[in-house]
């Protein structure tokens, strides 16, 4: 594939990722991620941090080989590895910034110290290592900018930075494993082991060798240069040793802790385990053992690809995929998460290619090669392609188009939450239902009693069976009898009254909940109307009627008690108890009133039965005694809802 095509794709992905990042900044992470409380770490943490850090392990691995061990065979890849590390860790930083809930607080660990937190240690290591990588790589930039004196100064202390970088990497590569020692109940036993920190560390060395080889092969191929086969072949051998060690320790640990049976269990996790082992270590080790394959860039490309995918799968498993069977919650990243991940990586790749082109990162890719790959194709004179592509700014023009197009495509495709902010799921209410109820007038009291289901026989007085509409008006699963006609007439009737509840084609239409108007249905309400009292006591001169002590502050507590004027606060025939021994103008809310209307009799009945039988009666005060017997609704449905 031509370098132009690759860069165009990278610019496109970068633009799309950037768009989603901007939306994420505006509306918060919840608007673009598919995470839940049960799976709070997703692709951005598992892929963008836990898996990307060992890929960046190439930086410290090659630094150790070249600068400390003086293995000069690997020098051609050294600067590339440092740059790869720098790009990976920058991507980790960027990804993490937008993954955490409050992105501008990414710097808080600098001054809020918490030495017991693994994450605190990792964040400090990564911050410091990013500085080290910058210093290590700055040499190339300074040379390019002709700041030779500064470059030489840095060079003199180079080894200090190299060793600091190796130590920091040892710490955070292993600590990424320590992170998941805290999840013994979450993580599948095939992955959860006390050896996690060690396994993470040795795989990061093996993976570091494979990633820089992969990157070198791909980059050289892009610029049609010969990759440094000697160095790549050597790295392949080291990777084989490290991954073989990893295999031995991993299987040794599993067998030693008596979990061997899980290796042959027929479960999703076991299949996942074997795929991971094959890709990450078994296949690479088997193939890397052959020198012929190690010396072939094409073979190395596939071997490295397998290793990179496999070890990344290992990290993703530990960070989330292998916890699915414990939490019983499957999370699939939203495409917006993928595009942000790819966008950040594409941005890093573009910077990487820029450095390759201008800073001489790989010796094989020099100005002659660049001229070769960037030579404009022969185009027909007067053709639109010629006009578009032969311009000196042609490349920039194509990339800009890709970027703008990506922004547009991303905006078109993002879910509505990402653009308009999060909304609750639309109307999960169960549909209305018609029920038959019995209503009977109780003699002597002006009250109508409903019974659900209708009584078989009329007890006293007139009884009728009527059809009533029941709706789940508050979407909480509690159906109530709903009198539609009264609602229409109370709102003045006519078409205008409909929209008060049914919004008639507004965006994101949802029917108003009952509590939108009946805001007091769950609350106790103040039934005291001060204005009306003022009116009835002749305005200001009447204050003293209630606020009897002129010296006291005129508040409710110092006023006359209600019942001194209103002898009975309790309306005739009400079932709801209102405590009239104390000053109160607070009436119980709708729900409490309803509950109290019922539960009192239930309690009385229970006591009566207990007295009659001489032993505790069946508990009649359970919610389910009333709520589950609603007609038309299966018992299972109630259980599911409660």
């Amino acid at each position: 594939m031509s370098i132009r095509a690759v860069k165009t794709i990278l610019w496109f992905l970068f633009g799309a990722g950037l768009t989603v990042i901007v939306l994420r900044i505006i509306h918060g992470p919840g608007s673009v991620v598919a995470l839940t409380d049960l799976m709070p770490w997703g692709l951005w943490k598992g892929g963008g941090v836990v898996a990307l850090v060992p890929i960046g392990g190439a930086g410290f691995t090659l630094a150790a080989f070249v600068s400390v061990f003086h293995w000069k065979r690997y020098r051609p890849l050294y600067l590339g590895a440092v740059l790869l590390g720098l790009m990976c860790y920058s991507s980790v930083g960027a990804g993490l910034t937008f993954d955490i809930g409050i992105w501008w607080r990414i710097v808080f660990p600098i001054w809020n110290w918490q030495f017991h937190s693994t994450l605190f240690e990792i964040s400090w290591c990564i911050m410091l290592y990013l500085c080290v990588l910058t210093v290590e790589f700055s040499h190339a930039v300074l040379e390019k900018l002709q700041f030779h004196r500064v470059a030489r100064l840095l060079e003199r202390f180079g080894i200090v930075f190299v060793i600091a970088g190796i130590c920091l990497s040892t710490l955070h590569q292993s600590s990424l494993g320590t992170l998941f020692l805290a999840t013994p109940f979450r993580l599948h036993p095939l992955w959860h082991t006390e050896l996690l920190p060690f396994l993470f560390f040795i795989t990061s060395i093996g993976l570091g060798c494979l990633t820089i080889s992969w990157v070198a092969i791909v980059t050289h191929r892009l610029y049609r240069a010969e990759p440094p086969t000697n160095a790549i072949s050597g790295l392949g051998r080291i990777a084989a040793y490290m991954l073989a060690l990893y295999l031995a320790v991993r299987f040794g640990g599993i067998l030693a802790s008596g979990k061997g049976g899980l290796l042959i269990a027929s479960s999703w996790d076991t299949a996942n385990f074997w795929v991971e082992i094959l890709l990450s270590a078994a296949i690479p080790v088997a193939l890397l053992a052959r020198e012929r394959l190690r010396n072939s860039p094409a073979a190395m490309f596939w071997i490295c690809s397998s290793g990179i995918v496999g070890v990344s799968l290992n990290r993703v498993n530990v960070a989330g995929l292998a916890t699915v069977s414990a939490t019983n919650y499957l999370y699939l990243p939203a495409w917006t998460e993928w595009i942000v991940t790819f966008g950040i990586l594409s941005g890093a790749a573009l910077v990487f290619l820029f450095c390759v082109e201008y800073l001489g990162v790989f010796e094989g890719i020099d100005s002659r090669r660049l001229d070769e790959v960037y030579t404009p194709r022969r185009l027909e004179h007067g053709d639109w392609r010629t006009i578009f592509f032969q311009n000196p700014q042609a490349d920039a023009r194509v990339y800009s188009v890709a970027l703008v197009l990506a922004v547009g495509v991303a905006l078109l495709l993002v879910p509505r939450e990402a653009v308009f902010g999060l909304q609750p799921e639309p109307t999960p209410a169960h549909g209305p239902r018609i029920v038959e109820i019995g209503n009977s007038e109780v003699p002597g009291v002006s009250r109508v009693e409903f019974s659900i289901p209708p009584l078989e026989e009329a007890v006293d007085g007139d009884s009728a069976r009527i059809l009533a509409l029941m709706i789940d008006g508050n979407r909480d699963g509690d159906y109530v009898i709903f009198d539609h006609e009264t609602h229409v007439s109370k709102q003045g009737g006519g078409d205008d009254s409909c929209v008060l509840c049914h919004h008639m084609q507004k965006p994101y239409e949802e029917v108003s909940e009952c509590s939108d108007c009946h805001s007091d249905m769950y609350l106790a309400v103040d039934i005291f109307d001060h204005d009306s009292h003022v009116e009835h006591t002749n305005g200001n001169e009447g204050c003293i009627e209630c606020h009897t002590d002129p010296a006291a502050e005129k508040v409710r507590e110092t006023a006359k008690e209600c019942r001194e004027c209103h002898e009975s606060m309790r309306p005739e025939g009400t079932l709801v108890e209102i405590p009239d021994e104390e000053q109160t103008t607070i009436a119980v809310g709708y729900m409490d009133a309803m509950h109290e209307a019922c539960i009192g009799c239930h309690e009385e009945e229970m006591e009566a039965r207990a007295e009659a039988d001489g032993e505790p009666a069946e508990d009649l005060t359970l919610c389910t005694n009333c709520h589950r017997d609603l007609p038309g609704l299966e018992d299972e449905e109630w259980k599911a809802r409660l």
């Binding site: 409380d37 709070p40 000069k72 050294y78 017991h116 320590t178 109940f185």
Partner: protein
């Protein structure tokens, strides 16, 4: 009144599932009404609007109601995990959350063995949400936690952990045929401040039912983490040592080569060859090929 270990004991046999504790908690903490957000499996799950909830558990002939909220572990995993120390274990017992420094890494949610902390995904600036055992309310106003005060059946009671444990043991002993002889929260992951007794086995959440271990969570990571400074120093010493040894060996070899090459000519101890090799080793590219060639010769 100061407490040594504020705790809550919930007797599942007494809970009627009326949700009064949920409403009281909502009012006390100013939580929003329940909404069917995408990430909620069930609207009555623990969420931003429910720091406590009542879970219905299948109990054979009749279902049981089990309160679920932060357990305020004696050695909390979330406090150990928190990157900035936004979660703190107070001396009085409750694990409290400081929203002013939380960065939203959500490691507490991963680390919690009981899957308690929730995240307000719906907010532009989201925070972790969990029960704080009404820390301020109890400490400053001397009241009971809102949920305990609201409970109509005294199914959930508040007090010192030791007292509640002995009360729980008293109840278990008084009606041994009724209760399962276990106090949930007594020893799990080192003990929690929220205790349950019940007449059926409690399988509250998928993850929680897996918690059988009595080892406190924090030691699992700190056991490894506290070696890190030593590892750093050791690694630095080993790498520095290797570098020094190889560097010196190359320098000596270069000197020897220079002497052999000059053969009585201009004697230059520590001459150019060694420096160039060292330079090349440091800088990486600089004069890479030359350096490597020269060292190969030497």
């Amino acid at each position: 009144m100061t407490y040594r270990n504020m705790s809550i004991l919930t007797d599942v046999t007494k809970c009627i599932g009326c949700d009064k504790c949920v409403e009281a908690c909502r009012e006390q903490n100013g939580l929003p009404p329940d909404k069917p957000w995408r990430w909620l499996r069930n609207i009555t799950d623990l969420s931003t609007s429910r720091w406590t909830t009542v879970v219905r558990v299948d109990g054979g002939e009749r279902d049981r109601f089990v309160r679920r909220h932060c357990k305020h572990c004696l050695e909390p995993a979330c406090v150990e995990a928190c990157i900035v120390g936004a979660l703190q274990k107070t001396p009085e017992g409750p694990v409290i959350y400081d929203r002013d420094i939380c960065i939203g890494c959500r490691y507490c949610m991963i680390a919690c063995p009981f899957e308690i902390p929730r995240y307000s995904w719906e907010d532009r600036v989201p925070y972790v949400q969990k029960c704080n055992l009404c820390y301020e309310r109890v400490k400053n106003e001397g009241k009971l936690p809102a949920c305990v005060e609201a409970c109509p059946t005294e199914a959930t009671i508040f007090g010192e952990r030791e007292e509640l444990l002995s009360e729980a043991r008293r109840r278990l002993a008084a009606e041994p045929q009724k209760y399962v002889q276990r106090i949930w929260g007594e020893r799990e992951v080192g003990g929690t401040s929220v205790l349950h007794i019940s007449d059926v086995e409690l399988e509250i959440s998928d993850l929680e039912s897996a918690v059988r271990d009595e080892r406190p969570m924090p030691e699992r990571t700190f056991k490894v983490l506290h070696h890190m400074p030593a590892v750093f120093v050791e690694m630095a010493v080993v790498m520095g040592g290797i570098y020094w040894v190889i560097e010196r060996r190359e320098k000596l070899a270069a000197e020897k080569a220079a002497q052999a090459g000059a053969d009585g000519g201009v004697a230059s101890p520590g001459g150019g060859g060694g420096d160039a090799a060292a330079d090349a080793a440091d800088s990486g590219t600089g004069n890479g090929p030359e350096g490597s060639e020269r060292t190969k010769q030497s």
